[in-house]
């Protein structure tokens, strides 16, 4: 039999079907061709944020089997451990069944079931009163959802600036660090050139976003024998397969990178040509100590940054492609002393304090190793450079006969991000990439459309003017370019409840969801009325300082009223947060609803072309639940929000599906880019197409456009790509995107810290602003490390997400929880020996914020100064449909209990959120601990323990036995 053309990722000759797939005549009566499904629905997975395409096989109205969609650009047929276990998520015993209204005290879990009509009228009445009086009294924060372009727009139409999703406690440092530097970012917005890279460096990634694409990519590297270097305190997962594992001390990656840069600069291993063409390395920076514009770019009258032309010996427009700009030296322009950005870079990173010998001890990495890695980077980048035989044209029209590349790729994620120095560390990695000339080149790191965008991209955050019954002037989240864009009042007080875009967190591109509960409880900067949340476990593993967070959620004033007056929460499952809601809106599972994975939000593009996707209901809900997005749209209509009603006041959209098809953010641009226009012939820009969803379904649930070969690299300066990006609405003008090695917006904040400008930080904030808003990346000790007695708390403590779990979701899954239902604390053998600990001991893990008890497992593959555990395995009794004796609530523990949500008080007595001072990113990984063997009678069970939640009405106890799949076999055999 012939073999068709191989589809999908696993199609090597050693992974294909047998040449002859006819069943041999064995005569053993085995049915080798059982019927599998009545139908196959192609939709998008939601077992994590990766958004893989899945084929859901439906048999007798039940899900028989889920496998990866071979044609899908994200996963190309593969599926991860979570994705295959989707069946058990869909049939979880923790699924909510009906809207709930709280009857007992908050946090008890005592509810009564109500009808949807009652739920809507309660919510509408409450929110309507807020909107009539003071819209910011609604704080609307969504969690891990993938509909932020809808939810943000809804908040904007409602008129509250108090909106964000979970990015602030996820990885905003990576987003902001990238977007302010190269106009794109790691995360899932870029990817290594898996097919061409020869040297791959992985910083702090533990199966985070883009999980299957990264795994597919690693498989390709391994198949080709490319070198994989991991920089991670823990040697698990991706790091396990590295050819070189560098067990760095947490929070010191920035120093490590600077030492590499130091070595590369010293040896002249930087790509000057690349720097001149694609970065601001040659832009002139004013050097006048006390001037109000010190450190800003020298600009011409039109505002264009200037450079110094070496030949003409005069200033030129820095974007003049014909100029011969200087990269070093000191010049005088219009009487002002100025130097090129690159001079500042050389001055800083050639300092001896950044040499391998100086950072080695702090990083826990031998200086020789740092020197070796630097040499390898240089060797691969400059001696093993590659060229693809494809001609392309750059933005000023210069034709290049080939596409040149330096095959060094890097990827970084939460290990970098979740420190209070993460923003600068992320920028440091981008600086390293750019110096080597490896961004968006063959073999390097590649942008995924709609990126790159200008660094930073627009627009700015809205929310300065909050008025009753009035939408915001824009979207609540955006990118600030200087103090003038901050959301603070005259006195410097934050305008947002989470203090995003305030002096506490100026570049808070994703908001600070992790501060909302404390701030709302404290009435700081102001009290709110209603906290509406979606799909984020804020009373448990999504919060720091869980114990106090729970207390704040249930705290009352003298009159006995809750300090956070009303909480509306939507979730599909009975999580630890549901019992704290006053009104619960039960969501559907991912197989029961519409969704769009939109270019307006977090698309499924890959570097070779943009894409987006949908979810659509493949099974009918068997409960009285509704998709949250549809509920939100109806709520918007009932409230009469401008975008949600027609002129006659009638609802504009029937449901989310209707919105997906017919909503236009700007004319012609809607949630989905594929099959636009009346007949579906247009891409990206066009009228709504009533058949759009069907076209997606027919195409396997997604749309994807493949770039032509000449559009695939150098997107920041590729004319053909830039024209396409304009046509698609990714960028406004076909102008090159200049990498901002030196960040002028940062310098504007720094100047404000020095007292220059119209909007100034309060006196007490100035030195912090001046220090942290350095326009070039720098390294400082993570805040907790700098604040605590390191003798007393000698260890770093980290969490990693198991590859088979997504946050707290996995524990309700009968299959996934079998793999891990108790998390251990992993401790280095040597460290344990020095503490007199042996395998399986129970220990107290103590930080300045409290203590938690767990069981240890000794390992070698961890930085000896670091202990770590799997995240979000510990569960509160009564949640997630688990039985009371489940290991999750008896032996599993949650490290969150001992991670403070605030820093120690500074000299002014101020306690900031435990976050990066630039972006507000939660600094989960700054945690310092000590571990102490617990008393014999304390061993065997975790502490602290919390009261068991009551079960919602009509919750059936979890079954004692699962025989999933037996019904399919019985039916098959009966048919024989």
């Amino acid at each position: 039999m012939s073999q068709g053309a191989p589809r999908g990722a696993n199609s090597a000759p050693s992974q294909r079907p047998l040449a002859d797939t006819r069943a041999p005549d064995e005569g053993d009566g085995v049915d080798t061709s059982p019927d599998i499904s009545d139908s196959i629905a192609k939709t998008t997975c939601y077992m994590c944020a990766c958004r893989c395409g899945i084929d859901v096989h439906i048999k007798d109205g039940k899900v028989r089997y889920i496998n990866g969609n071979k044609d899908h650009p994200v996963n190309r047929g593969v599926i991860c451990g979570k994705g295959s276990a989707g069946i058990m998520q869909h049939y979880s015993p923790a699924r909510l069944k009906k809207p709930l209204l709280r009857t007992g005290p908050r946090g008890s879990g005592e509810f009564r079931e109500i009808e949807w009509e009652e739920a809507f009228s309660i919510a509408t009445e409450r929110l309507s009163a807020i909107r009539r009086t003071d819209p910011k009294k609604l704080a609307f924060f969504t969690g891990r959802d993938q509909s932020q372009s809808l939810t943000g727009w809804w908040a904007s139409q409602f008129g509250t600036p108090n909106f964000a999703a979970h990015g602030g406690f996820c990885s905003v440092n990576m987003a902001a660090g990238g977007l302010y530097t190269i106009g794109g970012s790691f995360w899932e917005f870029g990817e290594p050139d898996w097919d061409n890279t020869k040297y791959f460096m992985l910083f702090g990634v533990a199966e985070d976003h883009d999980s299957n694409p990264i795994k597919i990519g690693l498989g390709k590297l391994k198949a080709r024998g490319a070198k994989v270097v991991s920089i991670n305190p823990c040697r698990t997962g991706y790091n396990a397969i590295a050819d070189d594992w560098i067990g760095i001390r947490p929070g010191t990656d920035g120093l490590f990178v600077f030492a590499l840069i130091h070595e590369l600069l010293k040896a002249g291993c930087v790509d000057l040509d690349y720097l001149l063409r694609y970065t601001n390395a040659h832009v002139l920076v004013i050097q006048e100590q006390n001037a109000a514009d010190d450190g800003l770019f020298v600009r011409d009258a039109a505002g264009n940054p200037l450079a110094w032309d070496r030949m003409a010996k005069t200033q030129v427009n820095a974007t003049d492609a014909s100029a011969k700009p200087a990269l070093t030296g000191s010049f005088t322009v219009d009487g002002r002393r100025c130097v090129p950005v690159f001079q500042l870079i050389a001055d800083r990173y050639l300092q001896e304090s950044y040499s391998p010998d100086m950072v080695a001890e702090r990083c826990g990495v031998p200086a020789d190793t740092i020197r070796r890695i630097a040499a390898e980077l240089a060797h691969v980048a400059f001696e093993q450079a590659i060229e693809l035989p494809v001609a392309w044209t750059d933005w000023p029209g210069r034709r290049h006969e080939t596409i040149k590349g330096r095959p060094v790729a890097m990827h970084a994620m939460r290990g970098i991000s979740a420190h209070s120095n993460g923003f600068h560390t992320c920028r440091a990695i981008h600086l390293l990439q750019v110096l080597l000339g490896t961004v968006d080149v063959p073999g390097g790191f590649r942008f995924k459309p709609p990126y790159p965008r200008s660094a930073p991209p627009g627009p700015k955050p809205a929310g300065r003017h909050v008025k009753p019954m009035t939408p915001l002037e824009g979207m609540p989240l955006g990118f600030v370019c200087g103090p003038d864009d901050l959301l603070v009042d005259e006195g410097g007080t934050p305008l947002r409840i989470d203090k995003a875009y305030s002096w506490d967190a100026p570049l808070a591109a994703h908001g600070l969801m992790h501060t909302v509960i404390r701030n709302a409880w404290a009435g700081d900067p102001y009290p709110i009325d209603t906290l509406m949340m979606y799909m984020s476990n804020m009373a448990w593993n999504s919060s720091m300082n869980t114990v106090e967070t729970i207390a704040m959620l249930t705290d009352t004033d003298e009159a006995g009223n809750y300090k956070i007056p009303f909480i509306i929460y939507s979730d599909a499952y009975y999580s630890e947060t549901v019992p704290f809601a006053d009104l619960v809106l039960p969501d559907t599972t991912y197989l029961e609803r519409h969704d769009c994975i939109s270019l307006l939000d977090r698309p499924i593009s890959h570097a070779d072309g943009p894409g987006d996707a949908i979810r659509h209901p493949v099974v009918e809900p068997d409960r009285d639940v509704r998709p949250f997005q549809t509920v939100l749209i109806e709520l918007g209509a009932r409230l009469g929000l401008p975008g949600f009603v027609n002129e006659d006041g009638a609802a504009k959209y029937r449901d989310y599906a209707d919105y997906i098809v017919n909503h236009e953010r700007t004319p012609g641009i809607g949630p989905l880019a594929g099959w636009r226009g009346k007949d579906g012939a247009l891409v990206g820009n066009g009228e709504p197409n009533p058949d759009q969803l069907q076209r997606y379904i027919d195409n396997g649930g997604f749309w994807h456009h493949d770039f032509s070969a000449d559009q695939r690299y150098y997107k920041m300066a590729n004319r053909s790509y830039l024209d396409f990006a304009v046509q698609m609405g990714f960028i406004a003008k076909a102008e090159p995107i200049v990498f901002q090695l030196y960040s002028e917006p940062m310098q504007r904040f720094r100047l404000a810290g020095r007292g220059h400008g119209r909007v100034l930080p309060p006196e007490s904030e100035r030195s912090r602003i001046e220090t942290c808003m350095d326009p070039l990346p720098f390294w400082y000790a993570p805040f907790e490390e700098a604040a605590v007695d390191l003798q007393k708390y000698p260890l770093h403590a980290l969490t990693q997400r198991p590859m088979h779990m997504y946050h707290s979701w996995g524990s309700q899954n009968a299959w996934l929880r079998q793999i891990t239902s108790q998390n251990r604390l992993f401790v280095h053998h040597r460290t344990a020996a020095s503490l007199g600990l042996v395998d399986d001991d129970w220990v107290w893990i103590e930080s300045i914020n409290g203590r938690v008890k767990g069981q240890i497992k000794l390992v070698d593959g961890v930085n000896p100064d670091t202990v770590w555990t799997w995240n979000a395995i510990g569960k509160r009794r009564g949640s997630w449909g688990l039985k009371d004796d489940a290991a999750e609530s008896n032996r599993g523990f949650l490290l969150n209990h001992i991670i403070g949500d605030q820093t120690s008080a500074d000299k002014n007595g101020k306690r900031y959120s435990n976050s990066d001072p630039v972006t507000g990113q939660a600094a989960w990984f700054d945690l310092r601990v000590r571990i102490v063997k617990c008393a014999a009678e304390e061993a065997g069970f975790t502490e602290p323990q919390f009261e068991r939640f009551q079960q919602p009405p009509h919750f059936e106890p979890a079954p004692d036995k699962l025989r999933f799949g037996a019904e399919f076999r019985m039916k098959r055999e009966a048919a024989e």
């Binding site: 079998q818 793999i819 290991a887």
Partner: protein
């Protein structure tokens, strides 16, 4: 290996039963033991009762006991199947012998032949039982030259001590028989000690290295594929603490060998009642001791799958 009571009892009881049957078959058939109705009834009843109880107990280990009949089919490859066949086949000459010897009071002739065949059947059956364990390569403590002789020796020993108890009870015992039992028990003790010595010094070529194919150095388990114990660990991951093992070995030796030898030696020259009581006591204590020995036989056996779990 998990010492399931059903299997511990099965091997101990059938071992004793077949031992007794073999001795009765040979000695009764040729008239060395007189054909006495009550003696015959009780002794054959005990032998066949132990065998039947053991076999019945073994079905307690089965997931689908109603299909146990299928176990007779694969005698060409499976020691378990062979055991099933042998045990059932042995019932035929044993039954004939029982009828002739007990009910007709015959010895010699066809009764002797039936007795001999029953004895051969018993020995074969015990061999097959031993081979079930001895053939299992993943369990080094079983896959040794000690296992099969052990089963035969213990079968002869427990059968002999039982026979002695019966004969002494019926006052037809002899010092020779007593001496034989002491010798058999001593042989059993020695064999067990030798077995333990062998097992304790066993250098098993299968290690975590060969189990994972990771050559050289150390291979340490970091995480199991599952948090809670699964079938493999419950069935084959049984662990016994060193100190418990030492204690139980002492108890096994005391009950299975030490005390019976003392009791049997003490019986020499004593009046009938004392000899009978001591002999019965020796048999009962030895049986209890053999249950402990057999429990240890399982508990101390380490299956290679435990290497995957770092046990």
């Amino acid at each position: 290996m998990h010492p399931a009571f059903s299997v511990v009892f099965f091997t101990t009881a059938t071992g004793a039963g077949y031992g007794l049957l073999a001795l009765l078959g040979v000695l009764g058939g040729v008239g060395a033991i007189p054909a006495d109705f009550w003696l015959g009834l009780i002794s054959m009843g005990l032998a066949l009762g132990l065998i039947a109880a053991g076999l019945l107990s073994s079905t307690g280990h089965l997931g689908r006991p109603e299909r146990a009949w299928r176990a007779f089919s694969q005698w060409r490859s499976s020691w378990l199947s062979r055991e099933g066949v042998a045990s059932v086949v042995t019932f035929v000459p044993a039954g004939l012998f029982g009828i002739g010897w007990v009910f007709f009071g015959h010895t010699g002739g066809w009764v002797a032949i039936a007795g001999l065949l029953a004895a051969i059947g018993a020995v074969v059956t015990v061999c097959t039982t031993g081979m079930i364990y001895a053939s299992l390569k993943p369990i080094a403590q079983w896959h040794s030259r000690y296992t099969l002789p052990g089963y035969l020796i213990f079968s002869a020993m427990t059968g002999g001590v039982l026979l002695n108890a019966l004969l002494q009870f019926f006052a037809i015992g002899s010092n020779t028989l007593l001496a034989g039992c002491v010798l058999l028990t001593g042989l059993g003790w020695g064999w067990k000690l030798a077995t333990w010595r062998y097992n304790d010094r066993l250098e098993i070529p299968t290690t975590a290295n060969t189990a994972t194919g990771l050559a050289g150095g150390t291979v340490r388990s970091m995480e199991w594929p599952h948090t809670e114990e699964n079938y493999l660990l419950k069935e084959m991951g049984f662990r016994i603490a060193r100190k418990h093992s030492v204690r139980l070995r002492q108890i096994a030796q005391l009950l299975a060998f030490g005390l019976p030898i003392v009791l049997l030696l003490a019986a020499f020259g004593l009046p009938w009642l004392f000899v009978a009581v001591l002999s019965i006591l020796a048999a009962v204590i030895q049986f209890a001791g053999m249950l402990v020995e057999r429990w240890l036989f399982f508990a101390e056996a380490k299956h290679t799958v435990t290497l995957y779990y770092g046990r």
